[in-house]
Symmetry: C2
C-alpha cells in the first residue's frame, strides 16, 4: 500500500462521491465534510494517541535494531540525529480506534491494539522493501539501502514481536483474541506478498484477474480489515459484528488498491509524487493492466505485445491508450465503486446509526479519495 500517494485536496472529486452516490448513506453529522477534513482530524488524533505507545515500543529495542526502526519511522536520520518524524498517516491505528468508537467501545482502551496494527504494518513495509528492492519510502531512503538487508529484515522481525508483546501485555479482555487475529492477518499479508513476488516472474497474460484481486485483498485489504476487527473486538462486539467490520475494511482496502493502481497509470505526477505511467514503464501487473489483458479485445493483444518487452522510450502513450481501450480503467473504477458499496453495506449492517459510523466512513472515503 503506497501511502505516499494518499492526499487530501479540498473539493477534489472522490470515488466515493462520484461513483457511489446512491449506493450507501452519505457521510453526515456535525463533523462530516466532503473534502476529507474530518478524516484528517481523525488521523491526527489517532497519531497523537498512538505515537507514545509506538515510540515506547521502538525505544525498547536494543541499539542497532532501534536505530533501524527509528529511521524507518522517520524519528531519526540515517546518522542517528533526531528527525521531525514522518511515520506515515496512521490509517490503521485510526481504523482501530474509529471501529472501537463506532461499536460503543472506549477509544482510549484500544490504543495498544492500534499501535500493534501499526507495528505489523511497518514490519511488512521493512520486509517488502527488501524483497522489492524499493529504494524510497515516505520520501526517505528505505532501511535496507541505509543499513543493509539483514538489519532491515531483523528490525522487521522485531516489530512483529513488539506488536504481539503489546497485546500480550495488555490486560484488556479482548487482547488475546486480537493477538490471534493479528497473527492470522500476518500470515495473510505474507501470502499476499508471496503471490506478488511470484507474479513478477510470470508472463502478464498468464495471470488471471481473480489471482490479482486475491493478491490485492491479502496484501492490502487484510490489514485494513483486521484493524477494523481489532477495534470491534476491543468494543466487545459479537462475532458477527467483528466479521462485518473486517469485511468493511477489506473491501475499502481493495477499493483503495484499485484507485491506487488507476493513479499509477493516469494520476497527476504533481500530486502523487510518482510520474504518470510509472507502473506501466515498470511493466507492473497492476489491476487495470490485468483486467485489460483479460478483455479479449484487439487492444489487449497490443498491450500483451508491449508488455512482452521492457519499456522503451516512447511507448508509454501507446501502452496507456491500450489499457484504456481494453477497458482497464473503466473496469477498475467500476470495481472500486462496487467494493466501496459493499464496504458500506458491511459497515451499516454492524453500525446502523450513521452518526456512529461517521468516523469509519470518513476514513474509508479518505483512503479512496483520489483525482482520477
Amino acid at each position: 500500500m503506497t501511502e505516499t500517494r494518499t492526499q487530501t485536496r479540498a473539493g477534489a472529486r472522490t470515488v466515493g462521491e462520484v461513483l457511489v452516490p446512491e449506493q450507501g448513506p452519505a457521510p453526515a453529522g456535525p463533523h462530516g465534510s466532503p473534502d476529507g477534513q474530518e478524516a484528517v482530524v481523525i488521523l491526527d488524533r489517532a497519531r497523537v494517541s498512538v505515537e507514545p505507545e509506538l515510540r515506547r515500543a521502538v525505544e525498547s529495542l536494543p541499539g542497532p535494531l532501534r536505530r533501524v526502526a527509528l529511521h524507518h519511522f522517520g524519528w531519526e536520520h540515517a546518522d542517528g540525529t533526531p528527525a521531525a518524524g514522518n511515520a506515515g498517516k496512521a490509517i490503521r491505528p485510526a481504523l482501530v480506534l474509529a471501529a472501537a468508537g463506532a461499536l460503543g467501545g472506549q477509544r482510549t482502551a484500544a490504543v495498544r491494539a492500534a499501535a500493534a496494527a501499526e507495528l505489523v504494518h511497518n514490519f511488512t513495509l521493512l520486509h517488502d522493501d527488501v524483497m522489492d528492492r524499493d529504494t524510497t519510502r515516505r520520501h526517505r531512503p528505505t532501511a535496507w539501502t541505509v543499513f543493509g538487508d539483514a538489519d532491515a529484515v531483523l528490525a522487521g522481525d522485531s516489530l512483529q514481536a513488539l506488536a504481539h508483546r503489546l497485546l500480550a501485555e495488555d490486560p484488556h479482555p479482548a487482547s488475546a483474541a486480537a493477538s490471534a487475529r493479528l497473527a492470522g492477518c500476518v500470515v495473510e499479508l505474507c501470502a499476499g506478498q508471496q503471490a506478488d513476488t511470484a507474479m513478477e516472474r510470470r508472463a502478464p497474460d498468464d495471470i488471471t484477474l481473480d489471482e490479482v484481486l486475491a493478491m490485492a485483498e491479502a496484501k492490502t485489504g487484510a490489514l485494513l480489515g483486521c484493524a477494523c476487527a481489532l477495534g470491534a473486538l476491543y468494543a466487545g462486539a459479537d462475532d458477527e459484528d467483528v466479521a462485518a467490520l473486517d469485511a468493511f475494511g477489506r473491501e475499502a482496502g481493495l477499493a483503495f488498491q484499485l484507485i491506487d493502481d488507476v493513479i499509477g497509470i493516469w494520476g497527476d505526477p504533481g500530486r502523487t509524487g510518482k510520474p504518470a505511467g510509472a507502473d506501466l514503464m515498470a511493466r507492473k501487473k497492476s489491476l487495470p493492466v490485468v483486467a485489460a489483458l483479460a478483455s479479449g479485445t484487439p487492444a489487449a493483444a497490443e498491450l500483451a505485445e508491449l508488455y512482452r518487452l521492457p519499456y522503451r522510450d516512447g511507448d508509454l502513450e501507446r501502452t496507456v491508450v491500450a489499457v484504456e481501450r481494453a477497458g482497464g480503467r473503466d473496469w477498475a473504477q467500476t470495481q472500486a465503486a462496487d467494493r466501496m458499496a459493499r464496504a458500506l453495506g458491511h459497515l451499516f449492517r454492524a453500525v446502523p446509526d450513521p452518526e456512529a459510523a461517521e468516523g469509519l466512513l470518513s476514513l474509508a472515503e479518505f483512503v479512496t479519495r483520489r483525482t482520477s
Copy 2:
C-alpha cells in the same frame, strides 16, 4: 545453533562429567544415565507430544508458504512429495515440557507453549540461513536455495506469527505472559543475529570477548532460557523461579555454544558432519578464536596475521596450533564448565529436588555432550 553437530555417543566424555564433577549434584534417579540415553528418551517424547500441534500450525498456512515450511521441517521434499521428516531434535520443546514438569506443572498443558518455542526457533533458522547464505541445514538444502530469498523470509515471518497465535489461542492462564516473554526473546534473538552479521564485517582483533559472549548469549542462550521460563510459567511458578529457569537455560546454552565452537576447530569430522577446522578456514570469529586473539600472546599475533587474509591451502594446521597456543581451547573449555556450573546453580535454586530436576539436567548435559 548448529544442531547437526549434536549427537549422542554411549560413554562419550561430556563437559558435564569431565569438567564439573563436583560443582553440582550428579544427575541421578531411576532413568538417569551418563550416556545421554535418558535425554534421547525425553527428546523423543517431546517430539511426539509437540509434532501434531506443530504440524497442524504449519498445515494451516496458505499453499506456497506451507510448502516452504513443510520442506524446512523435513516433511516434504522440494518437489512437494512427502518426506520422512527431520524437524530437528526438539531441544526447545523438550526444555519447555521438562521445565513445566520440574516445577510441578502438567507437561501436557504446556504443549502449545513448547510448539510455540519451536516455531520461533525455526523462524529464526529460516531468516538466518538467508542472511548467512548457508546452503545446508539438517543435511538438506536450505529453504532460500530451493524457494528463493523472499519465500524463505515470508515463511519465517509466518512461523513467528503462528507461534504467537498458538499462545493467543491457548486458554492456559500463563499463555499471555508466555507470549510476552517469547516476543521479548525474539527481539533478543534478532539483536544477536544482528551483532553476528555486523561482526562478520569487522576486523577480528577489533572484537572483544565480552561482545562475542553477549552475541552468543543473545543468539543461542536466549531461546533456551526462554523455553525453560515458558515451562516454569506454565507450571505456575513465581517470578523468582521463572527467572532462575531462564538463567539455567541461558547458561547451558552458552556452554553449548562454547563446546560447539571448540568442535568447529578440533572436532571429529566423522562425527560432526563438518570438516575439522571449517570455522577457521571460513575465518569465523568463534569464541575460542576471539579469546585467543585477546590473549596478548605471540600466538595471538600470529593468529591475527593469519586471519587478516583469506584461508590458503596449508595454513589450517598453523591456525589450529595458534588458537591452541594462545589459550583459546583451554579458555573455551573452562568457560563451558563454568557456565554449566552456573546453570546447575540456577536450576537447583528453583528445583532443589534432584529427582524433579533430572529431566532438565539430562537435557543440559545432552546439549553440551561433545567429544572434545
